[in-house]
């Protein structure tokens, strides 16, 4: 994960802090997704390593504090303080969901039922990785190109729609395994799928918020 000196963070502008924060959180998401891949491969050592990095909070808190301090001191601008704050809060929510997922996943070392299930999980986390990268790109496009940000968000929403179908396929498979009692594996996997979709849903809501911003600020288009 990208590490910056505390002093360097203080020198950054509000826009740079937002982008830096987005980069950090996206890297955290990627680390989480790679952790899931290790879990699929039953490489528990690297799984633990990745997820512990996700839980660890390093520069994020400092970036958040610096951002808030700078925002309240800053002069009013076209991109309102309220909108900037909400954008930042949406990024922060991504971090919270990632941390929540990591903590939950570390509670138990699950073994996936079969290769079909593994393939489908790989497919859904590939989509998650894709929309995570895209939302990061959309946030960074707000400054230079709002229309581009709008377009990327549309792609995010489309990918999330595909993920919903994958989710039902996975759940359908899970519910039809031969498990006649409420096993830990069943519970773990059910909540694991739901948590992946919780993250995807948040990214979709975030994309809609960015589209709201583009509509608000590109009123003359």
């Amino acid at each position: 994960m990208k590490e910056r000196e505390i002093n360097n963070i203080h020198k950054l502008s509000i826009d740079d802090l937002t982008n830096e924060f987005m980069d950090n959180i996206n890297e955290q998401n990627i680390m989480l997704i790679e952790g899931i891949e290790h879990l699929i491969e039953e490489d528990f050592e690297n799984f633990n390593k990745n997820l512990n990095i996700v839980i660890e909070t390093r520069t994020e808190v400092e970036i958040k504090k610096t951002f808030e301090a700078k925002l309240f001191k800053s002069k009013k601008a076209a991109f309102t303080k309220a909108d900037r704050l909400k954008l930042f809060a949406k990024i922060n929510d991504l971090k919270n969901i990632g941390e929540f997922m990591a903590n939950k996943m570390l509670l138990y070392k699950v073994v996936f039922p079969d290769d079909q299930f593994k393939t489908r999980i790989r497919s859904i986390i590939k989509s998650l990785k894709d929309i995570s990268n895209k939302i990061s790109e959309a946030v960074k496009s707000i400054g230079p190109d709002l229309e581009h940000a709008h377009k990327i968000c549309e792609e995010v929403k489309e990918e999330r729609r595909k993920m919903r179908k994958k989710e039902w396929d996975l759940l359908n498979r899970l519910w039809n395994y031969d498990m006649d009692y409420l096993s830990r594996t069943f519970l773990y996997l059910k909540e694991f799928i739901e948590d992946i979709m919780m993250m995807a849903d948040h990214i979709k809501n975030f994309a809609e918020y960015i589209q709201f911003l583009t509509t608000k600020y590109l009123i003359f288009k």
Binding site: F79, I142, L146, F220
Partner: protein, 341 residues
């Protein structure tokens, strides 16, 4: 009786000062500048107040002469009781406007009051020729000005918005560019707001018109007239700085999302309208012009217009003149029936 006349002249002068204070207190011109947050709030008030003062002292002559003399025909000259009736009626309507929360025109109420008082004057003096009571060319130019100025404001805003959208706004891609452009518009807005403040002072003939009428009727001399103008300018400044701050703060808080470019377009159009009509001696309602400019801006952006609110406002606008006329006439009739005239 002469002592009473002198006393009424003093009362009129004080009422004119009060009116000037309330003109400043109701002036919302600097609100868009306050909303941008570019300058400190007190600096915004000082800029607006200075504009009003300069306009009142140096550029209000034509409008003052319309209110104070040229509006009337050869048959009628102002008396102090007529002026007192006009002022009381106009102030009452101004207070009603403040409580109703609707931007009523003090200009329309002033001329409505004058109209009512003059009609009553003719009724109680049957020998006078009604045809010569008003300067008909001035009256017609006033009425035309009242109807045309908001419409000009509307169309000019639509055109100006389209031009600015084509030249600047449509080319913007990201928020960085928008922010840079809006910073430039903030500076342009500062200049436009100052210009509008100057011409608001110059076009608000209510108070200065009374002082002019007193000068025209030889109740005060030329030195007194100029001293009165300076004091009216100062009262307008104090009105804006002391009372107007609440109106401006309230409006600025409600419009924090407003773009400096929007504010600039509206203020520039209002400035153009005031700049044209003021030297012609036509006092207009600049709040009417602003409302139509806002509608024009929404129309230019193809945004929704609150027609219900607009209808309510239009009703008050139409009613202002006749109600003020009836009020002014009744007050003057009250003085007459009590043997004061």
């Amino acid at each position: 009786m002469e002592d009473l006349s002198s006393l009424i002249v003093i009362v009129l002068i004080f009422l004119a000062f009060f009116l000037s204070f309330s003109i400043g207190g109701n002036d919302e011109t600097p609100a868009p500048l306050a909303a941008t947050g570019t300058l400190k709030f007190n600096t915004v008030l000082i800029i607006g107040g200075l504009g009003l003062t300069i306009g009142t002292i140096f550029l209000s002559e034509e409008v003052a002469s319309t209110v104070g003399a040229k509006f009337l025909g050869p048959t009628v000259d102002y008396t102090i009781y007529m002026l007192l009736s006009v002022l009381i009626s106009a102030i009452i309507w101004l207070i009603v406007g403040s409580f109703s929360g609707i931007p009523l025109s003090s200009t329309h109420s002033l001329f409505g009051s004058i109209f009512g008082v003059v009609i009553t004057y003719l009724l109680v003096n049957p020998g006078l020729d009604p045809a010569g009571a008003f300067n008909l060319s001035k009256l017609s130019s006033l009425v035309i000005g009242w109807f045309v100025s908001p419409l000009v404001g509307f169309f000019l805003t639509v055109i100006l918005y389209k031009i600015i959208a084509i030249v600047f706004l449509n080319k913007l891609k990201g928020l960085n560019q928008i922010e840079n452009l809006e910073t430039i518009f903030s500076l342009a807005l500062l200049i436009a707001v100052f210009g509008v403040s100057v011409y608001t002072g110059a076009n608000s003939g209510e108070a200065i018109g009374i002082i002019y009428a007193l000068f025209d009727g030889n109740y005060i001399n030329f030195g007194g007239y100029w001293f009165g103008k300076v004091l009216l300018g100062l009262f307008a400044f104090l009105g804006l700085f002391i009372a107007g701050r609440y109106v401006i703060k309230n409006l600025a808080t409600q419009t924090t999302d407003a773009r400096p470019s929007d504010g600039f377009i509206i203020q520039l159009v209002v400035f153009i309208v005031l700049f044209v009509v003021t030297p012609m001696g036509i006092p207009i309602s600049h709040s009417h012009v602003i409302v139509f400019c806002i509608i024009g801006l929404n129309a230019g952006k193809r945004q929704e217009v609150d027609y219900k609110g607009l209808g309510k406002m239009a009703l008050f606008w139409v009613l202002t003149f006749p109600i003020a006329a009836i009020a002014g006439g009744l007050i003057y009739f009250g003085f007459y029936t009590n043997g004061l005239i």
